[in-house]
């Protein structure tokens, strides 16, 4: 179950010919089993693109992405099913749920897919309903939430449901793409505490994408810094933040506003 997510010399480009834009340039990165790896950098540095490639929303132009021993980039057949062990939580709680479906329906979809992946066709609708209640309980939301529409929940509550949807897929790796940057700082802590608790309990690893170094410092074991598509520094969080090797990292740290 615990497997590393490995980016091997991954390059991702957009456009053709002269207007080619390189979003990620030969990135080598490993998300180790059970760790929370921070990925920081400015907008346009390629952090999100890298994550999207890992779940198949973008295709690398070269290099490959592995989960354990399976290549999940350019995946076909069984590798596509394997790739479902990598799940993603998105930034914008406004748009990460279908506005016309209830929270329960959205979670149910994730459970159906997980059951199908594991060849477990026996999961009846009744069993899944119990599972939905358990998921909502796990993210500290009342069971009645299942019957509600996304617009009836606050941003923080929706992000909790987004976490529930990700863990419903029984992930090995969760990619958290700026999951609190659209939230008020007063609820940020509870969402991150939840992610951290679930990670420890369920043992998945997290690629934690953020532009907020103070948050990364608190929640991440290691941190990677990206700039203009290049991975420029990786290391233990405290080491990188207290003794950065790169000037750019130093610049990022200096820019963090203090109270």
């Amino acid at each position: 179950m615990s497997m590393p997510l490995t980016f091997e010399s991954v390059s991702i480009t957009f456009g053709h010919g002269a207007s080619t834009f390189t979003a990620a340039n030969a990135v080598d990165l490993e998300v180790r089993p059970g760790e929370m790896l921070g990925l920081v950098g400015e907008s346009g540095s390629g952090k999100s693109t890298l994550a999207r490639a890992a779940v198949g929303l973008e295709e690398p132009a070269s290099g490959r992405i592995l989960l354990g021993g399976t290549t999940i980039s350019h995946a076909r057949g069984a590798a596509v099913r394997e790739r479902r062990r990598v799940q993603m939580i998105f930034q914008d709680p406004q748009s990460c749920f279908n506005p016309r479906r209830t929270i329960g329906q959205s979670l149910d979809e994730a459970l159906v897919q997980a059951a199908r992946r594991e060849g477990d066709a026996s999961a009846s609708a009744r069993v899944r309903r119990t599972e939905i209640d358990e998921l909502l309980h796990a993210v500290a939301l009342p069971a009645g939430t299942a019957a509600r529409m996304p617009t009836q929940l606050s941003g923080g509550q929706r992000q909790r449901v987004a976490i529930a949807r990700a863990i419903a897929a029984r992930p090995t790796v969760v990619l958290a793409d700026e999951i609190t940057s659209a939230l008020d700082v007063s609820v940020q802590g509870s969402v991150l505490n939840l992610l951290r608790d679930l990670q420890r309990e369920l043992g998945f690893s997290v690629l934690f994408i953020s532009h907020n170094l103070a948050v990364v410092r608190v929640v991440c074991d290691r941190v990677a810094v990206m700039r203009r598509g290049n991975l420029i520094e990786v290391g233990d969080t405290l080491q990188v933040l207290e003794q950065p090797r790169e000037d750019y990292t130093r610049e990022l740290i200096a820019a963090v506003p203090t109270l």
Partner: protein, 620 residues
């Protein structure tokens, strides 16, 4: 769902809605019953009365074969409408499928399909209909098919455009990441979210189909004798238009009326399905006037302050014809040259307060204030109440900077001309003077190579440079006050620091006062000397930054908010502090928030207050 039903009922009970319903029912009645009731009578030929004018026996006269024109027109409703609707249904279904197909198959084949749709759209649809009608032969069925085919490209493109924008949204991505097959994602997540505009368009398309069908029949391509529809009747009547005009005019009028019915239905559906149609409710609400429960602030306005506001109230029309208070009686002063921060969560009313001061709030919002003073003169705060004489003064003395510099700059105009605009508008500068002044201001905010940059467009600027250009535009006059609404939220941290430094420089060099609104208390404290804390539409604390830093904030909400901000020294081995959803720090129950924290039993939260008992004592 119930809200949509409610909206449907509201719209369909409006005059235009009733008209649409009545017209549709009439059309339906005629289509179903006219051939049964008048079918035989309409087919009867009266050889004694060929091509006669109106008479008691035949209201609109008779055609060349002595048949009653009115009855034939009524009977023809069924064929005309059924054919048009059949063609519409086939065309719309075909178009929707073709439009969704590129998303399902994806990749290169998907792009080819999109290209094919685009080529199809290049041909006028009536031309396509005629061409296919000729190819498929002269019959009603062939004409229906031809019109349906002609509809597919335009409807396909509409569907594709709508669907592609939904396809890019996160909930579709989430479904794909979960492994939901593409076709199911399309039908489960995309189609329901583009359904409304497609329905509205389908009704309007039906009107066009009716017209196209009549056109084909008129050309002799559609319905063939002995069957007849309105187009066929028009064709037959046209030859004798000067003898018996009614033979052509009556079916012509029928086509127009039926076409209007469909367009009307589309219009009403559009109103019902788009949530913007709240004008009526708002008008009724305006008469009700919001009542303010907030205690009036008795302090007079401070004439020495650059901005002084007393008891500002802003309300929005809510559900059930109730006013929803957004700002509940806020009073504050901003001294000359002072930098004041306004902090609060989303929905606390901080941005609305700022917009109200700038006079940027329009109906349906309702703005009121007991008194306000700006830069030595009274300021009228109210919805649309800004006097035109004040425009110039505000234009010169008040500058506003918004969150997203990409949307506050017009992408079609050069940055320079937009920076120069206040000079032309408010300061009576000539074009050349304004240009020189604008370049000076751009240099002042450290835009490199300002002369060349002047004639560049917003997309050629980086996010930070755009925001600096906005500051430059604000500096064109000699502003006494800059209102900045989340000016760095859309920017990267390194750029954020640079913009904050720029604002501080403006303040030091020109003595301009600044009101900075931000959700990020760290941004506020790094620039401001005084902080106003807003919570649920009220100002709960007015505290100096120094006191805030030293932990001397008194309101529990302020303290909780401060504790939730992670810094580079936050302990890593403890849960992060946060404020629970159900915490209530409202006035009247100052300890309520503490109670919630105690009940929540979250070490991170209790940490936010130190010892809850002590805080409770302190407050009471």
């Amino acid at each position: 769902m119930t809200r949509t039903t409610h909206r449907l009922l509201t719209v369909f009970s409006s005059p235009i809605g009733i008209l649409a319903v009545v017209a549709c029912l009439a059309l339906l009645f005629l289509a179903v019953f006219a051939p049964i009731i008048w079918g035989a009578a309409a087919a009867a030929t009266d050889t004694d009365q060929l091509s006669r004018g109106p008479s008691a026996e035949h209201v609109f006269g008779t055609d060349g074969s002595g048949r009653d024109i009115l009855l034939r027109t009524l009977v023809a409703t069924r064929l005309s409408v059924v054919m048009a609707l059949t063609a519409t249904v086939a065309g719309v279904v075909g178009g929707v499928l073709v439009g969704l197909l590129p998303l399902i198959v994806g990749g290169r084949i998907g792009r080819w399909i999109v290209a094919a749709i685009n080529i199809g759209v290049a041909f006028p649809s009536l031309l396509l209909a005629i061409a296919f009608s000729v190819i498929l032969g002269q019959s009603g069925t062939a004409a229906t098919l031809a019109i349906a085919i002609a509809m597919v490209p335009s409807y396909g493109r509409l569907t594709h455009n709508l669907a592609a924008s939904v396809w890019g949204r996160d909930f579709v991505s989430a479904a794909r990441v979960l492994g939901v097959p593409e076709w199911r994602s399309v039908f489960r997540h995309v189609l329901p979210n583009v359904r409304d505009p497609l329905l509205v368009n389908a009704a309007i398309t039906a009107g066009n189909a009716l017209l196209a069908f009549a056109g084909l029949s008129f050309l002799g391509l559609g319905i063939q004798v002995p069957e007849y529809d309105w187009g066929r009747m028009l064709n037959e009547g046209m030859t004798r238009i000067f003898v018996t005009p009614a033979a052509a005019l009556v079916p012509g009028a029928a086509i127009i009326l039926a076409g209007l019915t469909f367009v009307l239905l589309g219009e009403v559906l559009g109103q019902a399905l788009t949530p913007a149609s709240r004008g009526r409710i708002t008008r009724r609400l305006r008469r009700l006037r919001p009542t303010s429960a907030a205690p009036a602030d008795a302090r007079p306005v401070d004439d020495d302050a650059v901005l002084s506001v007393r008891d500002l109230r802003v309300s929005a029309p809510g559900a059930d014809e109730q006013w929803l208070p957004l700002v509940k009686g806020v009073s504050f002063d901003v001294g000359r040259g002072e930098i004041v921060g306004v902090v609060g969560e989303s929905g606390s009313g901080k941005s609305v307060t700022l917009m109200a001061v700038a006079g940027l709030l329009d109906a349906p919002l309702h703005v009121e204030a007991d008194a306000a003073h700006f830069d030595g003169a009274p300021l009228t705060l109210g919805t649309g109440a800004r006097a035109s004489s004040l425009d110039h003064r505000l234009g010169q003395r008040l500058a506003m900077i918004f969150q997203d510099p990409m949307s506050s700059l017009n992408p079609a105009l050069t940055v320079g001309s937009q920076v120069a605009e206040p000079g032309l508008l408010h300061l009576g500068m000539s074009r050349a003077q304004a240009r020189t002044a604008a370049i000076e201001r751009l240099e002042a905010v450290r835009i490199p190579d300002a002369e060349r940059r002047y004639s560049q467009y917003p997309h050629e600027y980086s996010g930070g440079m755009r925001q600096r250009a906005m500051i430059a535009a604000g500096l064109m006059g000699s502003p006494a006050l800059i209102l900045a609404d989340e000016p760095t939220t859309a920017l990267d941290v390194t750029v954020q620091a640079e913009i904050l430094a720029q604002l501080r420089r403006v303040n030091e060099e020109h003595g301009t006062a600044i009101v900075l609104v931000s959700h990020d208390i760290a941004v506020i404290t790094s620039l401001c000397t005084r902080v106003l804390v807003m919570y649920r539409g009220r100002l709960v604390e007015d505290v100096s930054t120094a006191d805030l830093r030293e932990g001397r904030a008194t309101h529990p909400y302020t303290r909780a908010l401060l504790a939730t901000v992670p810094t580079m020294t936050t302990p890593r081995d403890q849960p992060m502090a946060s404020i629970p959803d159900d915490a209530d720090f409202s006035e009247g129950s100052p300890t309520a928030g503490v109670e919630v924290l105690r009940a929540a039993d979250d070490p991170g939260l209790v940490e936010a207050f130190g010892d809850p008992d002590r805080v409770a004592e302190e407050i009471s």
